[in-house]
Subunit: 120 residues, 2 copies
Amino acid sequence: MLEIMDEIVIPDSIRCELEGKGGIAGISGLLPDDLKIEAIVSVARALSDPMRLRVLFALSLQPMCVCLLVAMTGYAYSKMSYHLSVLKESGLVCSRQEGNYLIYYTTDLGKKLVEWIETF
Amino acid sequence: MLEIMDEIVIPDSIRCELEGKGGIAGISGLLPDDLKIEAIVSVARALSDPMRLRVLFALSLQPMCVCLLVAMTGYAYSKMSYHLSVLKESGLVCSRQEGNYLIYYTTDLGKKLVEWIETF
DNA sequence: TTGTGGTTTCAAAGAGGTTTGAAATAGGTT
DNA sequence: AACCTATTTCAAACCTCTTTGAAACCACAA
């Protein structure tokens, strides 16, 4: 089987190091599979908005109903609801019903992530 | 000073717990400041694309010139260049010049992140 | 200096995420 | 049932990110 490496020109320093690792095929074989990549992308996208980050951090300190989050941030219900759904779909938060209220709180993944981010 | 909490209706369970934490103001005071939030958002956005994630993981295994990344992925130069610039601006990768080549490699932050992601 | 190969930049088109306000849903009360 | 309140859903407008191909840039060699 012909490696692409044999056909393209790259600096010697890199060619040597790369060959020791099995070439392009060797590196490619060590990369996360598509499923894992998509899972990471989903979490990263959920974190890539200032408002969602604040909500996630707030929820990690205290479970809250939507009206409380709305009061805290000044955002519209529909907006908050949209962002909560993104956080929920990525597995960072979940919710339980209490009477007329929906109480959102962080999942274990959400907690772990917040803790890790705080170590920076 | 009047707390918003006194004016809105929320479940008692949450009101009690929240009051013990200083109310909305107490929680808000514990949230990361805008600068930190923006830094996290920048990193999260960089990670929120499958191609960039693969490139970041590949670079964590082996420094590579752009032509090698192009050969490995089959993407166009301009596309790769764009994604590398996003990774670079978020501080996950950096580059050094070697003759005619630009060698990209992961920063300490990039390495730490890859390692942490791999623990999942 | 002219040429060549690696890489970036640019503008326009395309795709995808976010905001908005109005309408719908759903639990609880009267 | 009718009603209120908390929350979600929807579609359209809006905005940001990504892709594309052509042109520009830069280091090196002849």
